[in-house]
Amino acid sequence: MANESRIPIRTTADIVTARQKGRILAMELGFDGSDLTVIATAISEVARNIIDHAKSGEVIITRGNQGGKRGICVVAHDSGPGIADVEQAMQYGYSTRNGLGIGLPGAKLLMDEFNISSVAGQGTTITMRKWRH
């Protein structure tokens, strides 16, 4: 069982690759039913955020066990300009672009844990987890 998938994100086609790999890994980790689609969708959103705001970056998907809980961990990292106001960016419906502003806040809704850290000029790292029920 591959415990880790690293997907470089440079083009929109890589978004598709990332979510497909995420779905496979989630399946290997024992997720089933709609959770697989939920995880793939969340990965799609954070990967797209990289393309939209930093041009390129990386999505790392790993087994995300913690304590007695088993799950999946997704890290989306870029070295882009960073997000000036994280709180604002995480508001549902807020967008710096012409989008709906649903991407990141939406991903947060889909996953059980969602952390974002961003430093202006240095980049953004999003870490999210989902536990198996």
Binding site: T37, Y92, G103, G106
Partner: protein, 172 residues
Amino acid sequence: MRVPILKQGDYLIASVQSVLSDDDLQLLRDDLADRVGRFRSRGVIIDVTVLDVIDSFATRTLRAIAHMLKLRGAHTVIVGIQPDVAFAMVQLGLTLAGVGTALDLEEGLEYLGGRAHRLHEHRSFGSREEDRLGHPLRTGRHSHEHHSSRPRDEDENDHPGHASQRSLEYGQ
């Protein structure tokens, strides 16, 4: 991969054949805009049965396509959204508001057919749309089968409130 578009009478049918990249989606939008104008189509069915993820970008694009085609005189119905995809979409807060939905191609055609029937009854396209969009969403009721739409539209004239109730698929 470019999405093939079929012409069937007054309708266009776009069947998504494989996973769509963002570029494919935008190409689909341009192709549909072009053909709706060329063929003077009244309805468009986009079949997304094969999509295993519909994220916020795809939803936004599908909605934009539907709204744009409406301005060009065609109604759009999205068919074939799979159970898990639908569930993930609503958890993400995406509801495709203002866009018609149906189970599959067959239902999609019926949906457009029933709709044309009703429009024919009322003749006035514009006022009908205003009526639909002007009312807040009330229900999730579905459009009706072809044969049953006629008596109910007459009924609507007696009870104007019902019209907005049933307009869910277009409204919001």
